[in-house]
């Protein structure tokens, strides 16, 4: 049993990566093998729209035909008995471009253009989505994030098998706000939230890892 976490943040030790580490700690506490992959370390592109994955009788039907540094990860997710957790900060209303490119490559090959749409993913994969964002929870509906999150979760569940989401709001962006042009933010409130609420988010991530290790 294994849990693979994919860090879609460019930062390797900040909020998203911390939550993913906690999730993996939770999984490891149940005896699972764990692995953390930093997406920004890989040289890859999003879906190349070659439609190899949709070509009847083709040797890439149901699989991504592109070959780059993402290919081994996609193959392992399909073949290994693993759960997968994708973590990303919210940039301009969505996951990072790098995470979006991975999601295209991971999901589109399994999406079958039948009516209704179906999945040809060869196994049921337990997945988790962890989002970190500067946006406070009170604004989530106003900026339509709630809808975005539920659509991603629904799509992941339909195509890969099962999905749950975890949100960390109003996160700390910098260690030292005095060095940055950022008068929108109140450094003391940010620091306080980081001390008081972020540890609870970490606990939720740990619990997700525990659940996933038990489910695999």
């Amino acid at each position: 049993m294994k849990v693979i976490a994919v860090n879609g943040s460019p930062r390797k030790t900040w909020n998203t990566a911390t939550l993913l580490q906690k999730a993996l700690e939770g999984a490891a506490s149940q005896g699972a093998e764990t692995e953390l992959i930093h997406l920004y370390d890989l040289n890859f592109k999003g879906c190349g729209s070659c439609f190899g994955c949709k070509t009847k009788g083709g040797n890439s039907y149901g699989r991504c035909a592109m070959r780059d540094e993402l290919t081994p990860l996609l193959q392992r997710i399909e073949k290994e008995n693993c759960a997968v957790i994708l973590g990303s900060p919210m940039y301009f209303g969505g996951v990072t471009g790098e995470m979006k490119s991975l999601m295209e490559r991971l999901l589109f090959p399994y999406l079958v253009y039948s009516n209704p749409p179906a999945s040809c993913c060869p196994r049921k994969i337990q997945t988790g989505l962890i989002y970190t964002m500067n946006c406070p929870e009170a604004f989530i509906q106003q900026v339509n994030y709630d809808r975005y999150f539920s659509q991603n979760e629904g799509m992941m569940a339909r195509i890969l098998g099962a999905c749950e989401s975890l949100y960390s709001y109003d996160t700390l962006q910098f260690e030292d706000y005095s060095k940055m042009v950022a008068d929108w933010m109140d450094p003391q409130k940010k620091m306080q939230r980081h001390r008081e609420v972020f540890p609870q988010d970490c606990q939720k991530a740990f619990d997700m890892g525990v659940r996933f290790a038990q489910a695999v």
């Binding site: 920004y40 949709k54 301009f92 209303g93 790098e98 979006k100 809808r147 940055m180 042009v181």
Partner: protein
């Protein structure tokens, strides 16, 4: 007057690229200099959250400090008079490559402040062209209308006046018989390609023409 078009689609001759070509033709017809850049040809990443663009007194304040193939493109956009970004909609949003580009372009100028709201040195009129397999009557159900409006809002705030052009229910393949794609009716798709897509091309042409002579419009 210079107009730069960015192709956020992996395909260089299909719907998105065609609409961008038409927009550039419209601008060229007004005497504008034009350039089409295929984002998939470039080796770059999205915003790496170094926050150099937000660092007080830093030499990269208001500029993206990340150096890769996108760097000269971002510099040329700052010198251009207008830009158009085109992207297909993949699983509910613009392509990851287009998204990574937008992060680099917008976040560097965006300030976490209300005065000023942007560090972009001038207004850059911007067009957003979206192509999608989804028919127009499902756009609201899918929440795409709100997505398009929020993209327009942020571009308007950071770069300059923004307009949006959508091409719905697009043709995905030349030959549907080669693909597992029962949910699409190849004849209806072909008819729409013949009858509606040329109207979308005309709208793109008109957008290019408007950008090339903003004062007259």
């Amino acid at each position: 007057m210079k107009l730069i078009a960015l192709n956020g689609s992996p395909r260089k001759t299909w719907n998105t690229a065609m609409l961008l070509q038409k927009a550039l033709e419209g601008a060229a017809a007004q005497g504008a200099e034009t350039e089409l850049i295929h984002l998939y040809d470039l080796n770059y990443k999205g915003c790496c959250s170094c926050f150099a663009c937000k660092t007080k007194g830093g030499k990269s304040l208001g500029k993206c400090a990340l150096q890769d193939d996108l760097t000269p493109v971002l510099q040329r956009i700052e010198q251009a008079d207008a830009m158009i970004l085109g992207s297909p909609i993949y699983i509910g949003g613009i392509t990851g490559e287009a998204k990574s580009f937008l992060e680099r372009l917008l976040f560097a100028y965006l300030t976490y402040s209300n005065d000023p709201v942007t560090l972009c040195p001038k207004k850059i009129p911007t067009g957003l062209i979206y192509t999608m397999g989804v028919p127009e009557d499902m756009v609201s159900d899918m929440g795409y209308d709100k997505y398009f409006a929020s993209n327009e809002w942020i571009v308007n705030r950071v770069l300059g006046p923004c307009e949006t052009l959508c091409s719905y229910d697009t043709l995905q393949f030349d030959d549907y018989s080669k693909f597992a794609a029962d949910r699409f009716d190849p004849e209806k798709k072909a008819a729409r390609r013949r009858e509606v897509f040329p109207l979308d091309c005309q709208k793109a042409f008109d957008m290019g023409a408007r950008f090339a002579k903003p004062v007259a419009n």
